[in-house]
């Protein structure tokens, strides 16, 4: 019987631990079970056979750590291990005449970017090397013990792109019921279902009793079968692995798991054939509970999931170049600091999702959107709404996205649906469906409703559930025609009640061409929420909008105890902090008072350049001198730099990017410690150098490309450790060869002037002020 058929019909049982049994047979600490596949095949086959005799339906191959990263020190071939391990498991299954071989896939053992240095596609390829070699003779792929949702996504994509086998994915959350990298269970379930795995669940970590509440939570979220393979209780004692539960106690917990609805049961660390035998006996005669579809609309980034439920979800609209010259320039320049600031500020203002649009006529939108998504997900856990009409850009952004995103948008036009739905089906996403098609936007609610119906029908043909479609009834400008607001609201009501889908609106369109737009936007938002609006694309910095949002939540009962409302307004009567004697702009910069420096800068609007020369720069110089004399410490220096930057932004917004010359800075490949580089970048930009910060863990080639593209005259490199100085040396060598006119300054904890000279760098800079001095020397 096909595996999936069997999964539909009855409870299925995995085997138990492999490592625990191999240790009993002599596997030493630090030795690799994968080595035993090739060196001691009879022992591995013996473990499989013992589990089979215990009654297991599914035998896991001995390939948990089978990836090139883990095997490279042992001199083993991943492909050889995969093939041989599957053969050993297949032998055991064939001897019995029934059962299934699960190709076991465990974590790589390195963190993905931006937390670590492993690229997403590198991770996909590492998984593929193993899966492609082992899939041929296996019945299913089991991805297990995952602690990072992003790595899990890489593994699922690798499985889907390497074979047609069913895929099961199980995770090992921490004691806070989250993945080690932050995702909660609702996020994991939504992402895995979006990636179309065949079953999901939990394994390892703790025992069945400790994991049971989490199992119940996953059962309440999942629309697909749930697997459960805990450890044999909690570890106790030191030295040899030993666990608290007896086989009998384990079996009785596992029977409860089956009664709660888990359909795939097995064992992890500390279990043995005895545990599996008792578990199967305890579950004898039980029929599996039916799998019930869940209807929640859920998206996520790398952290908590966002559910479209009672209160409307606010989607921040600020990361969009339309009508924003500064953002446009930043996108064209590849200067993403401003965009990251918008991301963090919108979140702090109350946005729950961020729309990300990089659509400009003369940029490579696909590359830019991919890079923006990666960078924003380095600093902000909010789910993103990928806003693009470019299929290539959408495809690439969906692929590297960490979590389950929103897509903005699909329309009722055939070409749009043909482009978007296959991508959404592959990667998983909630799609905003605009109620327009080839013929344009219908003027009536009925016309828009019919388009929504058609989009849902077409999505269903792709297997995309209506819970993953959010209908946008389209906001048209109120000043253009008096009925516009009403048609939108009428469409919204009908879509919601008759089609049973969630709804979204781009609210701000309503007020084009009219004064006091924020008032109209907030009023329209309030009316739409009354009509059942579930999500709104808004400006989260708009006070009237946030006021309306909080008030609506109180009035519709979505703010328990009015806590958010009280939190926002109880203090609002308090006066702003009193400012004592009035300080000059220079003094504010010197003292590192950012807010006050901005206020003072406003008074200099008549002569901004004079203010920079007479106030800001001299103050910075004095701060720098005080720092170098040891009278002032680094935090003070940085606060002054930030006050100076804020003042410069106020005085000369057009030149806030810096006009004193380009400086490219980067922390070298393999190095993820970037605080020193950030400090130098901050100081340089306060001195009006235009800093292009390439980030951390940057390859020599990327740095060279940036130098060539900008014809940069100065590069600053940082490295923290002796091991990453190697990368710095490679980078310097490449730059000296390919861009000999560019000067290179280097810094970092382990560097010395001698080491810098030895690798061919032009200057060793001991701290941020030294980098400013060298930049003045080269560019001044």
């Amino acid at each position: 019987m096909e595996f999936l058929q069997a999964l539909r019909e009855r409870l299925l049982f995995f085997d138990g631990a492999m490592g625990t049994l191999l240790q009993e047979k002599g596997l030493a600490a630090g030795d690799l079970p994968e080595r035993w596949v090739l060196a001691h095949p009879e022992t591995v086959r013996g473990v499989h056979a013992a589990y089979y005799e215990a009654g297991a339906d599914i035998i896991k191959t001995c390939t948990f750590g089978n990836n090139a990263c883990k095997l490279k020190h042992a001199g083993l071939s991943v492909g050889d291990v995969s093939r041989e391990a599957v053969r050993l498991a297949r032998d055991a299954v064939s001897a019995r005449g029934h059962g299934y071989v699960a190709l076991d896939v465990g974590p790589i053992g390195r963190l993905l970017r931006p937390l670590g240095d492993l690229g997403f596609e590198e991770a996909v390829d590492l998984f593929k090397e193993h899966i492609a070699a082992g899939a041929k003779n296996a019945d299913l792929v089991l991805i297990e013990t995952m602690t990072d949702a992003y790595e899990l996504k890489a593994a699922v994509l690798a499985a889907k792109e390497s074979c047609d086998l069913p895929v099961i994915a199980t995770v090992s959350p921490d004691v806070n019921s989250r993945m080690l990298t932050g995702a909660d269970m609702a996020a994991v379930v939504s992402m895995l279902e979006g990636l179309r795995v065949d079953a999901l669940g939990l394994n390892c970590g703790r025992g069945p009793a400790e994991l049971f509440p989490l199992l119940e939570s996953i059962l309440s979220l999942s629309s697909i079968p749930v697997a459960f393979s805990p450890n044999a209780g909690l570890p106790h004692g030191t030295g040899k692995e030993a666990y608290t539960l007896s086989p009998e106690a384990y079996a009785s917990h596992m029977k409860n798991a089956a009664l709660a609805g888990s359909r795939l049961l097995g064992g992890c660390c500390g279990t043995s054939p005895d545990y599996i035998r008792h578990m199967i006996q305890a579950c004898a005669g039980l029929s599996p509970l039916p799998v019930t579809p869940k209807h929640d609309t859920v998206i996520c980034g790398y952290g908590r999931a966002v559910r479209f439920a009672d209160a409307p979800v606010l989607i921040g609209e600020r990361i969009n170049p339309t009508g924003k010259p500064k953002l446009k320039a930043a996108l064209k320049d590849g200067d993403h600091a401003l965009i990251l600031q918008e991301a963090v500020r919108q979140q702090e203002s109350g946005a729950q999702v961020l729309d990300v649009n990089a659509g400009l006529p003369d940029i490579d939108e696909a590359s830019v959107l991919e890079e923006l998504v990666t960078k924003i997900q380095g600093v902000c856990e909010l789910p993103l709404q990928l806003d693009t009409a470019n299929t290539e850009a959408l495809s690439r952004a969906l692929r590297i996205y960490n979590g389950k995103p929103m897509i903005n948008s699909v329309t009722g036009a055939k070409a749009s649906m043909d482009a978007v739905f296959p991508l959404a089906k592959k990667y998983g996403a909630v799609i905003v469906a605009l109620t327009l098609d080839e013929k344009g936007i219908p003027e009536t609610a009925d016309g828009r409703f019919r388009i929504a119906e058609r989009i849902l029908a077409r999505a269903a043909e792709y297997g995309i559930d209506k819970k993953d479609i959010i209908v946008d009834a389209l906001t048209m400008t109120a000043s253009a025609a008096p009925q516009n607001g009403g048609v939108t609201l009428a469409t919204l009501r009908r879509v919601k009640t008759e089609l049973g889908v969630k709804t979204s609106l781009g609210v701000s369109n309503i007020s084009f061409g009219l004064p006091n737009r924020e008032l109209l936007n907030a009023a329209f938002f309030t009316l739409a929420v009354g009509a059942g609006l579930d999500a709104a694309i808004v400006n989260p910095y708009s006070v009237p909008m946030l006021d309306a949002f909080r008030a609506c939540n109180v009035l519709l009962g979505n703010d328990p105890g009015c806590a958010s409302y009280i939190g926002a307004y109880a203090q609002s009567a308090a006066a702003p902090a009193a400012i004592g004697e009035k300080a000059s702009l220079g003094e504010c910069v010197y003292r590192g008072l950012r807010e006050e420096a901005v206020r003072q800068a406003r008074a200099h609007s008549a002569d901004p350049l004079g203010a920079i020369d007479r106030e800001v720069i001299p103050a910075l110089d004095r701060v720098g001198q005080a720092y170098e004399a040891g009278k002032l410490f680094l935090p003070g220096l940085l606060m002054s730099a930030e006050a100076a930057k804020a003042a410069l932004f106020e005085l000369c917004p057009s030149q806030s990017g810096g006009d004193a010359g380009d400086v490219i800075v980067a922390t070298v490949k393999g190095d993820v410690h970037d605080i020193g580089k950030n400090i130098a970048a901050s100081m340089l930009s306060s001195y009006r150098f235009h800093v292009i910060d390439l980030g951390r863990d940057v390859t020599p080639e990327t740095i060279l490309d940036a130098v060539k593209a900008r014809k940069a005259k100065l590069v600053g490199l940082s490295a923290l450790m002796t091991t990453t100085v190697v990368s710095m040396r490679e980078t310097v060598a490449l730059l000296k060869k390919e861009a000999p006119l560019c000067r290179i300054m280097v810094g970092g904890a382990v560097l010395t002037p001698e080491l810098a000279a030895d690798m061919g760098a032009d200057r060793y800079v001991k701290d941020a002020m030294a980098s400013v001095r060298y930049a003045k020397e080269v560019l001044g």
Binding site: A28, A29, G30, D31, H73, P107, G109, R110, L111, L115, G116, D117, T145, T147, D148, S172, D174, N176, L180, T181, G182, T238, G239, A337, L340, Q341, V344, G378, V379, C380, E381, Y590, R591, G592, L593, A626, L634, P635, G636, L638, M639, A641, E642, K669, G670, D671, V672, H673, I675, N678, I679, A681, S682, D697, M721, T722, T723, T724, V726, S727
Partner: protein, 198 residues
């Protein structure tokens, strides 16, 4: 003009400490084993370390611990996130976090020293000290299953991720000469700029 930022900085600092406490998920793993003398180094729980300095540090120890601890990825994320709006904040957080992981390790080590077998703990000795290569972290993390158990990994160049993490060897000795708190007093590098007299 005097520079008086004490009010602003103290307010910021409380906020940063709170943010750090919220983000930190400190955890550790250990593995105990016999110290095996090799021709040119030592081996502990399958981790072989060539060279003289760890061997000297563990002189007289029959047994020892592999040790790894981390504040978790959320601290790295917090620092990156704050750096977007204020490098001063990020710098302070970075410093506070470095202090926090050291303090956590000291606390853990204090707890680990409560043993019934009469063995005392020596100070932590980490890859990168003396002639112990940074790359030793790979074998150490592997033997501890630190990736799976506490999410602690290393980059290709042997740098720990999350960044605010520690890996170390801790010797177990019968004499109460160990000083896991007064680390500096036990260190032969008397010229070190960071030396603290106990």
């Amino acid at each position: 003009m005097t520079r008086n930022t004490s009010n602003e900085t103290s307010a910021d600092r409380a906020d940063l400490i709170l943010a750090l406490e919220e983000a930190a998920q400190p955890c550790f793993v250990t593995l105990e084993g016999d110290v095996r003398e090799l021709k040119d180094g030592i081996e502990l729980c399958g981790v072989a370390v060539r060279g003289a300095s760890l061997r000297a540090h563990l002189a007289g120890c029959e047994r020892a611990l592999l040790f790894a601890a981390t504040l978790g990825v959320q601290v790295d994320r917090l620092i990156s996130r704050r750096a977007v709006l204020s490098v001063a904040d990020a710098y302070l957080l970075d410093t506070l976090a470095s202090e926090a992981i050291e303090r956590y390790c000291d606390e853990v080590q204090e707890a680990l020293s409560d043993r019934s077998d009469g063995l005392y703990l020596r100070p932590r000795y980490s890859p990168g000290y003396g002639d112990v290569p940074m790359e030793t972290s790979f074998a150490l993390l592997n033997a501890l299953h630190a990736g799976k158990r506490i999410g602690l990994c290393a980059t290709a160049r042997g740098m720990l991720t999350p960044v605010k993490s520690v890996t170390a060897f801790i010797g177990l000795t019968r004499e109460k000469q160990s000083c896991h708190i007064h680390k500096c007093a036990a260190c032969p590098n008397t010229g070190c700029a960071f030396r603290k007299e106990a």
